[in-house]
């Protein structure tokens, strides 16, 4: 057994990397939502509307809520987290509904 050299493990850098990756996953989520929305517009496919809304709710809205409510309006964190979680659940439900409901064609 040997101890992990904690000093060489820069926690601040780790936090920064984590924040950056969080921002990246929001951007990727919104990109997928946009592609799904284009699919809805181009093919008139209603399921794609739910998939688009779902991705936006799972990955985009919680981040926006956190920034808007916690950082700007200083709403208590547990409340913000609960709202974000509700958005994620709603979003996953929307994606599942989009996959389940039959398409137009």
């Amino acid at each position: 057994m040997y101890a992990l050299p904690l000093q060489s493990f820069d926690l601040e850098t780790l936090a920064l990397v984590r924040q950056a990756s969080e921002a990246l996953s929001v951007l990727l989520g919104l990109a997928i939502a946009y592609i799904a929305y284009r699919g809805y517009r181009r093919n008139g496919s209603r399921p794609m509307l739910f998939v688009a809304a779902g991705f936006a709710l799972v990955l985009g809205v919680p981040a926006l809520l956190t920034v808007a409510l916690y950082v700007l309006l200083s709403v208590p964190l547990p409340v913000v987290n609960a709202l974000a979680q509700a958005c994620e659940l709603l979003g996953l439900g929307a994606i599942l509904y989009g996959l389940w409901t039959p398409g137009a064609s």
Binding site: R42, G98, G103
Partner: protein, 113 residues
């Protein structure tokens, strides 16, 4: 897609100036029939007739543009990268090269689940 396109019909369609111009004008961006009429200097009814024929061969796609508090209108987009005519002992056949867009692939993926 409506199966193998007929080589004669596609050649006939491409021989038409207006149809070719429509394809060129809708290659980079989706355009409405009114815009196409402006750009090609051809009357709107003629543009609509050409669009109808192009759509029959899936060379052009139609998309609804929703307008808040207004009448929705349709825009058209070229759906091909190239057309190849091949000659063999059975005659000519046509192959249309298309770039399936990411949004279409995603739609197919979702709808086939």
């Amino acid at each position: 897609m409506s199966g193998e396109p007929d080589a004669g019909e596609v050649a006939d369609l491409l021989a038409d100036d207006c149809a070719r111009q429509i394809l060129v004008e809708t290659k980079a961006a989706a355009r409405s029939a009114a815009e196409l009429s402006d750009r090609t200097g051809v009357s709107e009814p003629t543009v609509y007739r050409r669009l109808e024929r192009l759509r029959e061969h899936d060379l052009v796609s139609e998309e609804l543009r929703p307008v808040p508090d207004g009448r929705n209108y349709r825009v058209y987009r070229a759906e091909l990268d190239g057309i190849e005519f091949d000659l063999d002992t059975d005659g000519f056949s046509v192959a249309v090269a298309r770039s399936e867009r990411m949004a279409d692939r995603f739609t197919r993926f979702v709808e086939e689940m």
